[in-house]
Symmetry: C2
Subunit: 159 residues, 2 copies
Amino acid sequence: MLRLSKLTDYAVVVMVRLGRGEAVQTSPCIAAATGVPEPTVAKVLKILSAAGLVASHRGARGGYRLVRPLDAVPIADIIAAIDGPIALTACVDGGTSCEAQGLCPMRGRWDPVNRAIEAALAGITLADMADPGPTFAAPGEAAALGPRALPLSALHVAE
Amino acid sequence: MLRLSKLTDYAVVVMVRLGRGEAVQTSPCIAAATGVPEPTVAKVLKILSAAGLVASHRGARGGYRLVRPLDAVPIADIIAAIDGPIALTACVDGGTSCEAQGLCPMRGRWDPVNRAIEAALAGITLADMADPGPTFAAPGEAAALGPRALPLSALHVAE
DNA sequence: GATAAGGGGACCGCAACGGTCCTGTTTCGT
DNA sequence: ACGAAACAGGACCGTTGCGGTCCCCTTATC
């Protein structure tokens, strides 16, 4: 299914959340606002921090803030931070495999595919995924929309 | 890593092999020619046959043949046949999940990403991944190329 | 009728992922 | 100076899906 890790999904939610409200937000606060379990939020933020996508501030009154605005963060960066480099097969990156056989029939063949995907992902920013805009849906309105097609901001009413 | 299943990799190898030589080839023959284990080749071919990408002929002197030429088979078809529909997250296809929470913050947000990837994969055909052309590398030449950048035809010298 | 080949499953081991928790270390507030 | 708040980093399992193999049945040719 071209599996994308669930953590990446959470990372987008967390990043978009960071793009709103206070400039510096704590992970418990983000967890409460998004509905994502707090340990998971913390884990995601640690990874994003290590990747340089968010900046952290330690100690009391600490928290995280965005380094770049949402429209300057391509989705490819998030995927690369959580799931590692964008490569469809294990044969194309470090190249540690395929040594046993000595001859991997697909050597380098997936490169154009990987480049095409990378280009596609580089053209979409987090702002594109959060574009419902500044209007927040009220709880009643969100429920009226049914289980499908809920805007990203649906969970933000909890804030 | 945007994991793509290994079976898909094998499927491309098998399909490209089917694009060469005899029109109808048996799975043991393909296994011997590509170096892929025979049970795995058979499994891949069954899936490809069910997806309509190859046609099968049962009985003695049976085998498989391509339905469409390689340059008419986008890589997206192979991925869809092996890995299922191209969708980065479980939330975008059938939509059976996220019912427990009732509110999935990413509802529909991944759609543009999925469409971009699908478009990218639809533009690359199997012929693009097999383009070393009619010239087959001799074993010595293939070895001289080093562990990297081996052409797809490298294993076909075994035929 | 014997044989060769595909059809359709079932089966099991393994590795990766999701999710949680624990123990530091740092900084702000009192 | 002390304590609390919050990040840093890693360890820890359960689960899930995948890779790989094997079996029996059906079909078609010789």
